[in-house]
């Protein structure tokens, strides 16, 4: 079998085996199948990666022809280039780690096998997504991960709230997907092909090109798709609700991989976007806005997982902004570092939840640093990485994004400030969460305190790996300034250089770059400091000042009314339309007219005609003679 197809097929086998007979196998075997197959996929990916790094030539595999009619040919083709390599490594690597973590986390769950089946299914679709060579294969993976997400969010389906969250995720994703499909149609009409290489090449040609409006339209439509999948404004409302799923799911799907699919799409079609400055501007501002709003919404959350969810929204906003600035490789780098530290945060939160038997409210936590020191350390490392404190990974990637916000061709002060504010808020809410969870007086209920324990080996080993990643991954992509000063290489950017040219930066002095770097770090430290003053261990009762009053906290606390709008306006409107207008109005009326009224009309006509049947012989005799007279008259007329 072709190597690329093998990478995707391995988790698929896991899905099939565990899905069909998993409930009858012992848990150990289920776990083994579920974790070994992704690990094998990871090894295969590494092999392909090394091959690619050696030769520099992308690998294409056409499996079969999906549709071939005059005028339309779509192949089921897989493609492995540098972008795909990075994504695959993240997906299989972090994916395998989270699978291992899940063994410990879900061990006492009734549907152990079903969980791993779904998780493997997700991995399969995600790999199809990143390995696809054209928009259709990508869409197969795109919708497939949406399905896996739906199944996993609503995993504990006995709870109606959880299934509602799954439904919401799927439907909101579908809104994005519709935009994606329309964008694909438009691409097909403009380019004549859905293949990525063809699309990028078409737009790179200096020759006959469609007008700016068309290119922007394509860019915006595909952006809508990306917004849906990556939970960007205004299609972000599903991600906080998606925290209803098991925590490893939140880590894998809603932090590290699925939600980054939108960023991957933007990077894949960089040729298209680079030709449309308007679309790029929209992308950049959507990303910036999301980064800012996501960060503000995280500040007001008491649920630990929801803090991380909004944080994810915000961070992906930064990635999207990077793509909008033309710095696609920087966006991808942040994707990689984010995968490590966000997964680390989620899994660390999972360890806390595991210890507290499912309690997610930070108001019922506190002083856990002493009871869960190991969890605390790994969580802290990941948190520092998120805040962008050097030398942790987040610093390198986030700082590069901020630098591009300032220096890139369509960068601006506004974008930079938005990113900076988001970073400051990130540090603030992240350490608010850290302090509320791990420091201060213990607010944990009596009955839970006794059972607080560190996570088992399967979980803790993964936490260690992710913490190390959060610490070290950054060094493969040091910023330009460091490259020039310290004469180190940036292997990450060099690797991606053949496919993702670096953003056309005007030449700014290194001093500016270093200055902005310093400002960013200072802002992050300031955020941590403010969190310390309000929520730190010295504060008597850190929540005593909650809830804040005032207009801004109210608006932010309500999520800027996106949910209220969608639920109150759109959903209510559709319900009203469905029930009152159609079901009771139009449908009932139509049925009445066509069925009841037409039957009544026939019945009425029948009563009219039965009046001829008087039962009176004389009347009949008269009819006979009348008919005779008419016949004779007609005969006389036509004789």
């Amino acid at each position: 079998m072709s190597a690329l197809a093998l990478i995707a097929a391995l988790p698929l086998c896991g899905f099939i085996v565990n899905g069909v007979i998993g409930s009858r196998l012992p848990k150990g075997l289920v776990a083994a199948i579920a974790c070994v197959l992704p690990a094998l996929a990871f090894i295969e990916t590494c092999r392909m990666f090394l091959q690619l790094a050696d030769t520099g030539a992308p690998i294409t595999e056409t499996l079969f022809t999906w549709v071939a009619i005059p005028g339309l040919t779509i192949d089921a083709a897989l493609y492995f280039d540098q972008i795909a390599a990075v994504m695959c490594l993240v997906v299989t690597g972090v994916g395998t780690l989270i699978h291992i973590y899940s063994i410990g986390y879900m061990f006492h769950d009734r549907s152990f096998a079903r969980y791993f089946a779904y998780l493997n299914l997700f991995l399969f679709f995600m790999l199809v997504l990143v390995l696809g060579k054209n928009l259709v294969v990508l869409f197969v993976g795109w919708e497939g991960v949406g399905l896996a997400s739906y199944l996993l969010i609503g995993f504990w389906f006995e709870d109606r709230e959880k299934t509602a969250a799954g439904l919401k995720a799927f439907v909101v994703n579908r809104v994005g997907d519709t935009g994606f499909i329309l964008g694909a149609f438009l691409v097909y009409n403009v380019v004549g092909s859905l293949d990525f290489q063809d699309i990028n090449a078409f737009f790179a040609l200096a020759g006959d090109r469609p007008s700016a409006a068309v290119t922007t339209a394509v860019g915006v439509l595909l952006l809508i798709g990306a917004c849906g999948k990556s939970a960007q404004i205004p299609l972000h409302v599903w991600l906080p609700d998606a925290m209803a799923g098991p925590t490893p799911v939140s880590a894998l799907i809603h932090a590290a991989t699925m939600v980054t699919a939108g960023v991957y799409l933007l990077a894949r079609l960089n040729g298209l976007y680079l030709e449309s400055p308007a679309a790029m501007a929209i992308v950049a501002w959507v990303g910036a806005l999301t980064a800012l709003l996501g960060a503000t919404m995280a500040v007001t959350q008491f649920n630990l997982k929801k803090v991380l969810a909004y944080s994810t929204i915000s961070q992906i906003g930064l990635m999207v902004m990077a793509c909008g600035l033309g710095a696609f490789s920087v966006g991808l780098f942040h994707l990689v570092t984010h995968a490590f530290f966000k997964a680390g945060l989620f899994l660390g939160a999972g360890a806390v939840l595991h210890a507290l038997q499912g309690e997610e409210d930070m108001r019922k936590m506190g002083a856990l640093a002493k009871k869960l020191p190991f969890t605390f350390v790994t969580f802290l490392v990941a948190a520092l990485a998120l805040c962008g404190i050097p030398p942790f990974a987040g610093f390198f990637s986030k700082d590069e994004i901020l630098w591009n916000a300032w220096s890139a061709a369509n960068g601006s002060l506004g974008l930079w400030l938005a990113g900076l504010t988001a970073s400051g808020l990130t540090a603030f809410y992240m350490f608010r969460a850290v302090f509320l969870t791990f420091f201060g007086a213990s607010r944990v209920p009596e009955k839970l305190i006794a059972h607080v324990h560190e996570p088992p080996l399967s979980m803790s080993s993964v936490l260690v790996v992710l913490a190390l990643g959060s610490l070290l991954v950054g060094f493969i992509g040091p910023p330009n300034a460091w490259v020039e000063i310290a004469h180190v290489s940036a292997p990450f950017y060099d690797f991606l250089a053949p496919v993702l040219p670096p953003a056309g930066e005007e030449h700014h002095p290194i001093g500016t770059e270093l200055a902005l770097m310093a400002i960013a770090v200072l802002v992050a430290l300031a955020g941590i400091y403010f969190a310390w003053t309000r929520f730190g261990p010295r504060v008597a009762y850190p929540l005593a000042r909650e809830p804040s009053r005032g207009f801004v906290p109210w608006v932010v606390g309500r999520g800027f009314f996106f949910d209220a709008f969608y639920d109150g306006v759109i959903v209510r409107f559709m319900d009203w339309l469905s029930e009152s207008v159609l079901a009771r109005g139009l449908e009932a009326g139509l049925a009445k007219i066509t069925l009841a009224k037409s039957a009544d009309a026939v019945r009425y006509a029948s009563t009219l005609f039965t009046r001829l049947q008087t039962g009176n012989v004389q009347t009949y005799a008269f009819y006979v003679l009348l008919g005779l007279a008419l016949t004779l008259w007609w005969g006389a007329m036509h004789a």
Binding site: R611, L612, Q613, G615, N616, V617, Q618, T619, A621, L625
Partner: protein
């Protein structure tokens, strides 16, 4: 004799038509069964008158010969009609035709 507007044949045909119409009207309108039968006879007589008039006008005997056929048929018909009337009256107890509307739709 001065020329009349209507010569005798036209008058007789007119008379026959009027008689026929009267009979027809009676058949359709009158409620008494016996009167209806009598009106049938009136219609038949009017037809005979028309036949004889045309025969006289054409100076043939064919129409006159029809008289016999018609009267024979009428007599048989009356005989049967009376039998039906008797049975009908026995069944219903009245000669009213309008009362018998069991077949009303």
């Amino acid at each position: 004799m001065r020329r009349r507007k209507v010569d005798k044949y036209q008058f007789l045909i007119g008379l026959a038509v009027a008689t026929f119409a009267a009979g027809l009207l009676g058949v359709v309108i009158r409620r008494n069964l016996l009167v209806v039968v009598m009106c049938l006879e009136i219609m038949l007589n009017a037809v005979v008158l028309a036949f004889v008039t045309f025969a006289a006008r054409a100076q043939t005997l064919d129409g006159v010969a029809m008289t016999f056929f018609v009267y024979v048929a009428a007599s048989c018909e009356v005989a049967l009609a009376m039998a039906i009337v008797v049975l009908l009256v026995k069944r219903r107890g009245s000669l009213d035709l309008a009362a018998g509307d069991e077949l009303k739709g």
